[in-house]
């Protein structure tokens, strides 16, 4: 049975002793927005994360997603991949606007898209995710003030929306398969995603 894969609010909140900050860890398919002085953390393989904030109010948020395969209509601007990516980005932007951010003040820092998944069939997944997020932000006229994309290493990203600071650690020595396992599981879920949301006619 097909299903809609909703983007979920990250729920893994903790106090980060190293940075002395309330923090939230985002997993693939999650997003988080805040108007508080928090730390948003995620680990990216071939997924991308957009860190978007209102440069005046400091209201900011992050998402963590990858595109599903485009399917048969991969060359079309309406392919499932582009529509899902646009949806994932819109969810984050809408939540920021609801918290009081202004669209005209938004700026973005984007990370991830490393070619870290094994196997030839997914060799360009990271590049595709990176290309999408850059194109989306350009279309939306949201200024990109920093980026660290593609390459071959996973990344750990620390984002402090209040002051815009981002720290990126490239994980050159991975001793387990947790990152790629999580992404593969997320990718499997995306494969099952229906291409559209609910429809209801009132009259």
């Amino acid at each position: 049975m097909s299903e809609i894969l909703d983007e979920q609010v990250a729920s893994n909140l903790y106090f980060d002793k190293s940075f002395n900050h309330q923090a939230v860890k985002l997993l693939p398919g999650e997003y988080y927005v805040t108007d508080k002085d928090m730390l948003l953390v995620t680990v990216l393989g071939s997924c991308v994360a957009a860190c978007i904030r209102d440069c005046y109010s400091g209201i900011g948020g992050m998402n963590h997603f990858m595109l599903p395969d485009g399917g048969a209509d991969v060359g079309s601007p309406l392919n499932a991949s582009a529509r899902y990516g646009t949806y994932a980005m819109e969810i984050l932007i809408n939540q920021l606007l609801k918290l009081g951010a202004r669209r005209c003040n938004l700026e973005a820092k984007v990370f991830g898209g490393g070619n870290v998944l094994d196997g030839l069939t997914v060799a360009n997944v990271g590049q595709r995710n990176a290309d999408f997020v850059l194109k989306f932000l350009q279309t939306e006229r949201i200024r990109i003030v920093a980026q660290d994309l593609v390459d071959i290493f996973p990344r750990k990203v620390y984002f402090f929306p209040k002051n815009s600071k981002v720290m990126v650690k490239k994980l050159r020595n991975i001793r387990n398969t947790t990152i790629s396992d999580r992404e593969k599981e997320y990718r499997q879920r995306l494969h099952k995603v229906d291409s559209g949301g609910d429809v209801e006619l009132f009259s």
């Binding site: 529509r83 646009t86 980005m89 819109e90 809408n94 606007l97 559209g196 949301g197 609910d198």
Partner: protein, 121 residues
Amino acid sequence: MIKTILAVDDSASIRQMVAFTLKGAGYEVIQAVDGQDALDKANSHQVNLVLTDINMPRMDGLKLLELLRKLAQYKNIPILILTTESGDEIKAKGRAAGATGWLVKPFDPKRLLEVIGKVIS
């Protein structure tokens, strides 16, 4: 006669995809970037259907819906909502304000055209 659809969304990416879908099906499309822009264009064009997002700056989709339904020429025009919002409460508000239907994003071009085909006169 070619039907005209007013497509309202603050996201340029969504506007592009919706316009591509509708033009491909033979509709004429007028695009608006928020509720206020849509209201201005609704007053100066003859429109057969309005397709609007909810969360937008300046004027949101629910306010637009409410104001359009007060205009004589929009009392019976189908107004569809295309949004990321799927909660029962906001859907009920949309219905009470006179929405014809509610489509949750990500949108499926085929289903969007089916719904429009059903409600456009």
